[in-house]
Amino acid sequence: MNEKIGVYVCECGPNISERIDIDRVLEEISSAEGVKVAKKFGLLCSNDGKNYLADEIKKEELTHLVVAACSPREHEQTFMNVCLEAGLNPYLFQLINIREQCAWMISDKEEATRMAIKYIHAGISRVTLHKPLLKKELDSIPDVLIIGGGISGIEAALCLAGKDRKVYLVEKTELLGGMVKKFSELLPYQGSNLAVIEEKIEQVQNNENVEILTSSEVEDVRGFLGNFEAVIKSKSNGSGTKEIKIGAIIVATGFKLFDPKNTPQFGYGKIENVLDALEFEEMSASGKILLKNGNPPKSVALIHCVGRNEKGYCSKVCCLYSIKFARHLQDKLPGIDVSEFYSDLCLPDKADQDYFEEAKKKGIHFIRADDFELKEKDGKINVEYKAAGGKKDSIAVDMTILAPAMVPSEDTSKLAEILNLPLDETGFFKEVHEMLDPISTPIEGVYVAGCALGPKNIPESIIQSQAASGKILSSLIPGKKIEPEVKVSEIREEFCTGCQTCLSVCFYGAISFDEYKGISVVNEAICRGCGSCVGSCPSGAIRSKHFTYPQLYREVLQALR
């Protein structure tokens, strides 16, 4: 072996120098096999430090670099860049964490020093087994697939098309607009006039960057960020399928309403004139708010939170639209008696409170209650309930409008399977991080926006669509190559027996089976390098680059010296 390993210990100001006897470290390790130089430096991550390292690599003609400093989570990349500019492959470098793991954690200087030496020895014997790895670059397709032609999908389409991206907008039904299309009006302070929605739909339809595929569904998706292939099945024109190539995907499949039949106490489907929210929206949109017998209702009960207990979450928007309904009824049918039955009021946005207060002024009764039981009683609906105080009570009304929970739309789970996305316990898509990364999914290049993630109002959905578009515009730039993970798994053909165990533990679908050769094959562009497959391969045929068995084994041995 003719390695020329350079070992550089960072004093990290006082952080390391005061708690570890660096000189002893140097004298211990300078004799290790393959080590050409062992030196210390004040602050290696400073510009001086980086220049110093770069010069050293060139001057000493180092074949491998070992830096003992802080956590790789902090400065691994920094020093890899140094290697790069000094003409040393950045993967022939190992950063040893003697700050967090030794200096800062072990009070006794002796011990800390001893531990540091151990770590560095391990690093040295490991680095000699490192293989130079090369960054790969792949062309990327800037086009985007949007699944779902509701308001979220439309908004995203407009954002992206506005930046000259080709967009495929796939909608299951015959027409765009989704749920919003069914609404009679928006909240007044949202510009109650539905025309704004119509405008958006029109804009999309007239935008030549947007290819609209209605009555269509996504059947299959293969590939990875920048290079997806999707199969779109159209139900209308003789169920033909269409193959498209895109670089990113936005899922905006929205929601559907909880079926009140699952909560029989509300009599939905059994008792006449018990409607759910959407049915009422359509009714009022049609301008004819009538009972089955053709007469307008004189009294209406609105019941919130239908299915909330069953689902276990608040659907956020029901309170507001129920108030909207109440005021709508008052406007259209003067003198009508309207009662709102709620258990908790959810009025999150700044304008909501006033809207609610006004409603109360207008004489709408707000009754806090639960344990409902609706019965038909001589042509009317008798709403029995337990009031807040706990006392049982009831009123008879002509019409009841239920506000059911929002639940994931049809075939959400099917789509999740196709895209290999996780769902949360409520059945909606699961974001990477509710707070820090609320629209990304574990699959790079696939985003979710709007009610597909859970109950939302229109503004929130629009914000998310814009956010998703922004993510795509900033990560998928036309002409710019994408650099997939380098520390991926590789399969040594001659050892692979083709048992396909690895396929079953790969959560990215990065491994496929080559029927002809009878072996598994890793798609390095999809692989994220987690190494689960490696841990599962009995033949030892899979290797995770930069974390191979021998490399880790060297660390084990050194740990036990």
Binding site: E494, F495, T497, G498, C499, Q500, T501, S504, V505, F513, G518, S536, P538, S539, G540, Y549, P550, L557, R561
Partner: protein, 369 residues
């Protein structure tokens, strides 16, 4: 209750009768079964395509030269067979075959699977030293009385899965007191029934699980317990393992004979686990002495980690071990408890995923907290 084909002949002749019928009626293209190779009793599996060769067929012969599951896997590794072939295997061989198929090491397609309620087999040694000749005489007697026939392999004497899973037909042996007069062939599947249409003999309806089978299962379970307890005599822990594997030649014959060890090149035979002279010298410094070749225990436990959840206790490992290490006993002991832990019975259900290709989010939740 299932339909049973009764052939009015001794069980062995009856079985041959069945095979003869299947081949002559051209319901199957060939028959895969044990065949006599010479007079000192050597038998080996054969694919028989001509009826005349059936005269040497000994489908129920109580010896297991190799695990047939391994053979059939190699047979169908490249692709599935496209014409029906009848294969006569024992319960553990069938289970092995199914485990292998789960790992895409073969295909069940177009196989007519014929098995038997298994009385166990004799160790290969008894063939080489000729002792099986007198033993075999009482084999059928004890099978008939649902006894554990003496001198069968310890693994077999302790096997409770002698009623095959997933076979199309099962030739009943255990506890059949009319063995010498008639051969009862249980038709477990539609396939089994179709293939026997027009076969000699009459159909009756019977249940394969009987008092006798229950009785034998009990005896075997007791035997199993005894067998496992015997392992304790070496004590436990690393000392015990060292004693148990003291004579190991590192020939890895156990893994070569194991049907579940399907790797073309065993990880433990690969360069990955070779030692550099320097690491030898480090260890020599630490211990004052090292065993060569190294890694004896590492190999056996390592192999265990790789395959034991799928171990079908076929006993081949012990049978081929040149130094009589009770490999199969150790593996079945560990296998037993791990399979219980993952609620997995190897070879029971071809749809059931292998424990390490899958997981449940809600399992073992107490761990790691």
């Amino acid at each position: 209750m299932s339909n049973v084909l009764k052939i009015k002949k001794g069980v062995e002749q009856g079985a041959n009768e069945l095979l003869k019928f299947l081949l002559e009626s051209e319901k199957v293209k060939g028959i895969f079964t044990l065949r006599k190779m010479n007079e000192n009793g050597a038998v080996s599996y054969s694919l028989i395509t001509h009826p005349k060769e059936l005269q040497n067929a000994v489908p129920l012969f109580p010896l297991m030269p190799v695990n047939a599951g391994k053979i059939l896997s190699g047979f169908t590794l490249k692709k599935a067979i496209n014409e029906p072939i009848a294969a006569v295997l024992r319960s553990c061989e069938l289970r092995a075959f199914i485990e292998l198929i789960k790992r895409t090491q073969g295909s069940l397609e177009n196989f007519l699977l014929i098995s038997s309620t298994c009385g166990g087999v004799y160790p290969l040694k008894s063939l080489t030293d000729g002792t099986y000749k007198e033993q075999v005489s009482q084999y059928w007697e004890s099978a008939k009385n649902a006894e554990i026939s003496s001198d069968i392999r310890p693994t077999c004497a302790a096997c409770e899965y002698f009623i095959p899973q997933q076979a199309d037909m099962t030739i009943a042996i255990v506890g059949k007191n009319d063995l010498q007069q008639e051969c009862s062939i249980f038709l477990n599947t539609k396939k089994g029934e179709e293939f026997t249409i027009g076969a000699p003999g009459n159909i009756v309806s019977e249940d394969i699980d009987t008092k006798e089978t229950a009785k034998l299962r009990e005896k075997r379970q007791e035997q199993k317990k005894k067998l496992f307890d015997e392992l304790e005599k070496n004590g436990s822990g690393i000392k015990a393992l060292v004693k148990t594997f003291a004579a190991c030649l590192s020939c890895h014959g156990c893994s070569k004979a194991c049907p579940i060890c399907y790797c073309t090149l065993c990880d433990f035979d690969s360069k990955t686990h070779e030692y550099l002279p320097s690491s030898h010298e480090i260890e020599l410094e630490q211990k004052g002495g090292i065993r060569l070749p190294p890694g004896t225990i590492f190999f056996h436990i390592g192999r265990m980690i790789h395959m034991v959840v799928s171990c079908v206790n076929c006993g081949m490992c012990s049978d081929v071990c040149p130094v009589n290490i009770p490999v199969s006993t150790i593996f079945s002991k560990v296998g037993d408890s791990l399979q219980k832990l993952f609620d997995y019975l190897p070879g029971k259900d071809i749809e059931e995923p292998v424990p390490f290709g899958t997981y449940k989010e809600e399992e073992f939740t107490e761990i790691g907290e």
